[in-house]
């Protein structure tokens, strides 16, 4: 149905514009959630959305609709609705920026596997079973923990057509199983949690339980730190919460172009320690951020952003690339399904180093291991600041984890911290399906405590 609709909409838009592009996204999702250790509810949702982009009198116009399948007489998917969508795009084009691109012609796309039939056919009963097992496993270790679990599966179809003959379709599946737990003693609360996120049905969902139990074990004792600079070891989840926000902004070609990114003008410059490298890879099989092309139909690629501390590339969509006089890196992504296109990472990857976690802890005379922060994205992200309250973190004394810390803040700046000689862990893992990274050890970070 969406196929016909995309064609119809493109035809109607072409009549009033020089260039046009239609992006259709339909999805079907089921989730099972557990609240306070008990099965609470099951949700399904279906949606069919479309976004239209036109270039008219040289300027970009944009409109979008959700509810394409609505049967209302005024529904966006009716003939009248499609005409209205075209009108809205034309109206906005009067105020739009001059287009600096042409929609891509038919191209060769890489083979990227992002669909798993087993996810599509997974029954709600099996999802309930997976969730129940997870809760049971964690409670076996910690009977007084209160867990919320969410098991979500779904499929989506994307279709992109444009006035240059570009045409691409793909189907994607996704499966997420996550647990958030809290142990309360008096007014003391301990928060733990982990998730697995993939296009594929994971072989071992109990990995989530293993991780949570590991967190609970490490947090058994209590420890305090004093206000002063300390060595800090970020776990993969810690790296994700502390650094992801700043990194995504810093390598956004748009931020670079306008000078909001401190990396502007620093291509091929040694900005970080040589132990640090970073890639963006949209071609990894079965990763949530992967697909054969980006949301504008540019082919996906693997992109090295930082190699041994040297800045190698930034992320570009068509328009930003046109303005910067470079090629799109296949990083045009839509905000919230059918929102505006902007450059954004797919899956960020920090390659492994050489030191195992235990060795890094063992080397610390006194320090902090940070697993989760709250408020980490509230600082001056553009400037590279990160920090926050340590929601889950452990004190290290004489090379051993002695217990969890509370009422403790860490603060730093990626451009200062990653310039120091850092150490990179030897085991990487995925965090929330958006970044795959190892532990990072920083020699000195500001720590404030009560």
């Amino acid at each position: 149905m969406e196929q016909a609709l995309a064609g119809q909409l493109l035809d109607s838009a072409r009549k009033v514009s020089e260039q046009a592009e239609v992006f259709c996204l339909s999805s079907y999702e089921t989730s099972v959630h557990f609240e306070a250790n008990r099965l609470k509810g099951i949700m399904t949702s279906e949606s069919a959305d479309a976004a239209l982009r036109v270039v008219r009198e040289g300027k970009i116009g944009f409109s979008a609709a959700s509810g394409l399948r609505s049967s209302l007489p005024s529904g966006p998917g009716t003939e009248d609705g499609l005409r209205r969508l075209t009108e809205m795009a034309v109206e906005t084009s009067r105020f739009g920026k001059p287009a600096r691109f042409q929609f891509p012609s038919p191209a060769d796309y890489p083979e990227v596997a992002v669909f798993d039939r087993r996810v599509a056919s997974l029954a709600a009963e099996s999802m309930i079973e997976l969730g129940s097992e997870l809760v049971a496993r964690v409670r076996e270790h910690s009977p007084d923990i209160v867990c919320d679990v969410e098991v979500t599966k779904g499929t989506s179809s994307v279709r992109i057509v444009n006035s240059h003959g570009g045409e691409v379709d793909y189907d994607k599946s996704f499966f997420v199983i996550g647990l958030e737990g809290v142990v309360i003693r008096g007014t003391d609360m301990l928060f733990v949690g982990d998730s697995l996120d993939s296009c594929r049905l994971p072989d071992r969902t109990e990995l989530v339980a293993d991780k949570v139990i590991e967190q609970l074990k490490l947090a058994e004792g209590k420890a305090t730190v004093s206000t002063r600079p300390l060595p800090v070891l970020f776990t993969p989840r810690g790296v994700a919460t502390a650094l992801l926000g700043s990194m995504a902004l810093a390598f956004n070609g748009k931020m670079v172009l306008e000078g909001s990114s401190p990396l502007k003008g620093r291509l091929r410059e040694q900005v970080f320690d040589s132990a640090f490298s970073l890639c963006d890879d949209a071609t990894l099989d079965y990763c949530l951020g992967s697909s054969s092309c980006d949301d504008e139909g540019s082919p996906s690629r693997q992109l090295s952003l930082v190699r041994n501390g040297v800045i190698h590339a930034f992320l570009y969509d068509l328009q930003t690339a046109g303005l910067a006089g470079v090629q799109s890196t296949g990083s045009g992504r839509r905000a919230a399904g059918t929102g505006q296109i902007r450059p954004a990472p797919s899956s960020l990857v920090i390659p492994e180093g050489e030191l195992p976690f235990e060795a890094m802890v063992g080397d610390m005379e006194e320090g902090l291991v940070v697993e989760r922060l709250i408020g980490a994205d509230q600082g001056n992200l553009l400037g590279g600041d990160f920090g926050g309250n340590v929601l889950l973190g452990y004190k290290v004394e004489h090379g051993e984890i002695v217990g969890r810390v509370k009422d403790t803040m860490v603060a730093g700046n990626i451009y200062q911290v990653l310039k120091q000689s850092i150490a990179v862990g030897s085991e990487a893992r995925w965090v929330d399906g958006v970044i795959r990274c190892p532990c990072l050890w920083c020699p000195s970070l500001s720590v404030s405590a009560k």
Partner: protein, 452 residues
């Protein structure tokens, strides 16, 4: 439509059923890099049906409005799969109502030219400020109609117009970048964002001034919060803890949140009130068809109430408060705040200042997050206080604390309550929900500040 919905919800073997339908039209305008960058218009329509069977919920969201009865049957089937022990639900009175809400100066019906004209002026002011390199402006207005029906016989149509504006000035010098922002909103009334020229100028000036401001050393300080930041504090530090869906199934948390427990001094009163006319968090019926109310959370320092959905109220044996809200028809209603604020005290700002030998005056918000016990929120603007006087501007700071001790550490409350209408609240993947929060100036002793 009323008959169609009524018949769709009829004849199922469920404890309770409700349906939501929604139509909306949204305009977004964004400025960046010197001028208008993007205009985006979106139309949406869809609906959902939710069913309860013996404590299990089924929820089906859809676009196609044909065959609503089968959608309801699917929701009931899912609820049955999830069912366990039966739980009561607070019943409401069947309400039949149609509430049209037309903003005085309806932003959604203004031509784009007019919106552009106003935003252009702010853009020019910000960019005309020395050392400011970029202006980012995010504007959004929405016209939204929601229809609610349930198995008790309610049928309610409500308009939910909304408008937000955020101005951000980005200043840069060498490799140093600082920014300052201003957030405003209204229930779709465009006049709320007109005439902000002076504020735009001050915001841009602040971003530039921050470039040369020193950083604060991390540690414990006495802080004075302006009404905007204190409102965020009320929302983050205490408001979320008052949402009963965190509490109702958690015995330990119930022990902590026992009504009658003292949380703060006798001067502390915190309220959530969805009935204040004209505020962004206001409504007449929540998304479970319950009447909006004014709820005291803390009165004279003592915990006296919390926010409920039909389910949490019934499970805890308390009165419903009409706080079940959904960000759109793709999500089920969950317990949310509306307009949350600290009530006025009596101390003047000067008096408050004079009691601080060394501390911080923190203004404006950048964001906030909470984990129930711990909260963090960041100030957009901060000044040292020395010897009871305002001193130099410093870089923005992050404040953090433990709610149970921090509320007790509020030792002064001003008499200058102001509501802040900007921003929105996120919870359980549902964001941004229109809320507002507010407070007079407040002073907190022993507040932990992060810093380098």
């Amino acid at each position: 439509m009323r008959e169609r919905l009524a018949s769709a919800l009829c004849g199922h073997n469920a404890d309770y059923l409700e349906a939501h339908l929604e139509e909306s039209e949204v305009t977004q305008v964004r400025y960046e890099n010197g001028g208008l960058e993007e205009v985006h218009r979106t139309r949406s329509c869809g609906g959902n049906i939710r069913a309860l069977v013996s404590g299990g919920w089924g929820f089906v969201s859809f676009e196609h409005l044909d065959d609503l009865w089968s959608r309801a049957a699917l929701a009931v089937e899912q609820a049955r799969l999830a069912s366990g022990e039966a739980v009561p639900l607070v019943t409401g009175e069947a309400a039949v109502d149609k509430l049209a809400e037309r903003p005085e100066r309806d932003a959604a019906s203004l031509p784009l030219e007019r919106k552009k004209q106003v935003l252009d002026e702010y853009n020019d002011i910000i960019l005309g400020t020395a050392r400011v390199q970029n202006a980012r402006i995010d504007y959004h207005d929405a016209r939204r109609t929601v229809v609610f029906a349930n198995s008790e016989g309610s049928y309610i149509e409500q308009d939910r117009p909304d408008l937000t504006l955020r101005l951000t000035a980005v200043a840069r010098e060498n490799n140093e970048i600082q920014q300052a922002g201003l957030s405003l909103g209204s229930k779709g009334d465009f006049s709320a964002i007109e005439g902000l020229h002076q504020q735009a100028r001050e915001t841009a000036g602040l971003a530039a001034a921050l470039l040369s401001a020193p950083e604060v050393r991390g540690g414990e300080y006495t802080v004075i919060l302006d009404p905007v930041l204190a409102g965020v504090f009320a929302h983050e530090a205490f408001g979320h803890l008052s949402e009963s869906d965190f509490v109702y199934q958690n015995r330990e948390l119930q022990d902590i949140m026992t009504l009658g427990r003292t949380f703060g001094g006798r001067n502390l009163n915190i309220v959530d009130d969805a009935t204040v006319p004209g505020l962004r968090g206001s409504y007449q019926y929540d998304d479970e068809g319950m009447r909006a109310r004014r709820t005291y959370l803390i009165r004279e320092g003592v915990l006296v109430g919390r926010l409920h959905s039909r389910e949490t109220a019934a499970r805890m044996g308390e009165k419903a408060t009409g706080n079940a809200r959904a960000v759109s028809c793709r999500f089920p209603p969950i317990v949310r705040m509306s307009n949350t604020f600290i009530e006025n005290g009596t101390m003047s700002f000067e008096e408050m200042l004079s009691g601080v030998r060394k501390g911080l005056y923190v203004k404006n918000w950048y964001g906030g997050q909470t984990s129930l016990e711990m909260f963090t929120f960041s100030a957009g603007e901060a000044y040292m206080i020395r010897g009871g006087r305002l001193a130099e501007l410093v870089r923005p700071v992050v404040l953090t604390g433990n709610v149970f001790t921090t509320l007790n550490n509020i030792d002064a409350i001003g008499g200058d309550l102001e509501m802040n209408q900007g921003g929105g609240c996120g919870k359980g993947g549902q964001s941004p929900l229109p809320v507002s929060n507010g407070s007079p100036h407040i002073r907190i002793r022993h507040c932990l500040i992060g810093g380098r």
